[in-house]
Amino acid sequence: MADANEPVSVVGIPSRVEYTYSPGRATTRFLRAIEQKRLMGQRCTGCGKVYIPPRGACPRCGLPTDEEVELTDKGTVVSFTVVRVPSENIQLELPYAAGSILLDGADIPFQALLRDVEVADVRPGMRVQAVWVDDAELQPSFTNIKWFHPIDEPDVPFEKFQEHL
């Protein structure tokens, strides 16, 4: 037991705040569609670029992206990384790859896991497709896509996606 006269130098102060988050109109439309296994992007009324997942604005033009564009679940790996270091929150077997995926028709890539492929074979330009959860498990969430895996299509040359890194 500590000396009763020993100054206290550290105290724990438990605290907690709760939020009710809402993602906004554009992302809500995206989430309602992905709940139906559809991928809805949005096109900027100014420059014509297609964003997915949409946040409601074209950051280039500062304009609303009001036009809905349905995209396929196929895309191209534009860049990737291989994870070899364990992390507390990640249950995956090491090593594994995560990539920036540019869906066909989209102008901005998003990040996703790459599986069903040797990490040594992952490369920019590789064609991939989404692997979905079972229909019974669909939710208004991006986690409906478990990962992307390679499909038997020729690689896309760098020049075709270099603007979308």
Partner: protein, 350 residues
């Protein structure tokens, strides 16, 4: 000093919750409106500065996402203050004084409805010197109100009268949230939220955003038929620790008012007193006479979008001048518990 004027102002209609919209969706229409009204093409505005706090969204660096609403390509000169938008105006005014730019777009936003504001603000910043006690802003404002009563400087009836006046004036403001005819005695019959504060003395939970464009002398005269000149702007603060202050007075407000040019000749004052008793302290610190019209917009008791309400006071004061209701106006913004930080702006017609 360079002459600087407000050339445009826009704000959202204030709501108790805009849950359908995210921050960017809330901002885009008013940014466009402010830029369009300014007469300065968006790409020619020299500087952009925003005021907000990530704690309202509960997401670190969420203020960066607001940049999506700007169309910041090619890259722009942009800055952010973790303060009410009034302080973003201050930074922009300083930026113009340096001579680097001639114009600036200022905006601020807050979706307070996503969390419980008293707990959020308590964990955000103030006053961490008392943190094991978790004193929230309402409780601290109640201590301040109690000190006012004990000092014989104000009364619960006076606060109810302030609330009645605010709601009545807010009827003419389409953007205000809490408005209508109210009765002093009915207000005094309410139970206390935190003694001696009753619900009518508290600011309403409010979501909203505001945007403003300012410009230096010649540019302001060229683009605006009626520029509202910022004759003085000054920011002062009282100690962080409430326990070392006399909560019934606001020396920082008195100092800021003096340094901004003084309240003499002011016809209208928009005061950022989130709690009704604080208006009494501010009026006293500024030396405002009974002939000065206080908060014709309805003030913060009619709408209090956190991080926006201070900039909104300046915008509403400018609207009074644009509308011909005043030639000289004072606008005040505050941050922190018990009026800790105070910014005073003196505005004038041409």
């Amino acid at each position: 000093m360079r002459d600087v004027a407000i050339v445009s102002y826009a704000q959202t209609p204030y709501q108790s919750s805009v849950s359908a919209q995210n921050e960017v969706e809330m901002l885009m229409p008013i940014l466009s409106e402010a830029v369009e009204k300014s007469g300065i093409p968006r790409k020619e505005i020299g500087f952009t500065c925003s005021g907000s706090t990530d704690y309202l969204a509960g997401q670190s660096f969420s203020f960066v996402m607001a940049v999506d609403a700007l169309g910041a390509w090619p890259p722009i000169r942009e800055s952010h203050v973790e303060m009410d938008g009034a302080w973003a105006l201050y930074e922009s005014w300083v930026k113009i004084q340096t001579g680097e730019v001639d114009s600036a777009l200022i905006f601020s936003f807050g979706r307070q409805s996503m969390g419980d504001l008293p707990s959020v603000l308590c964990l955000q910043l103030d006053p961490y010197v008392l943190q094991p006690l978790h004193p929230d802003g309402i409780s601290l404002a109640a201590l301040q109100a109690r000190a006012l009563l004990d000092a014989g400087k104000s009364s619960e009836r006076e606060w109810a009268q302030i609330a009645v006046r605010s709601r009545a004036d807010a009827k003419d403001n389409p953007d205000a949230l809490v408005k209508g005819d109210a009765d002093v005695d009915a207000f005094l019959a309410e139970s206390c939220v935190a003694s001696p504060l009753r619900p009518h003395t508290l600011p309403p939970v409010t979501d909203g955003a505001a945007a403003m464009v300012i410009a230096a002398g010649d540019l302001a005269r060229r683009v605006s038929e009626k520029p509202v000149w910022i004759r003085g702007i000054d920011h002062r603060l009282d100690p962080h620790m409430p326990g070392v202050r006399d909560l019934t007075v606001s020396p920082s407000t008195a100092k800021a008012t003096e340094k901004a040019g003084g309240a003499a000749g002011v016809e209208v004052a928009e005061l950022h007193a989130p709690f009704a008793p604080q208006e009494v302290i501010l009026r006293d610190a500024m030396g405002l006479g009974s002939d000065v019209k206080i908060n014709p917009s309805g003030g913060p008791l009619a709408a209090h979008p956190m991080m926006v309400a201070g900039l909104a006071r300046i915008g509403e004061a400018a609207r009074q001048i644009w509308g011909g209701k005043a030639g000289r106006a004072l606008a005040h913004a505050t941050q922190g518990p018990c009026l800790q930080q105070n910014l005073v702006t003196i505005l004038e017609a041409d």
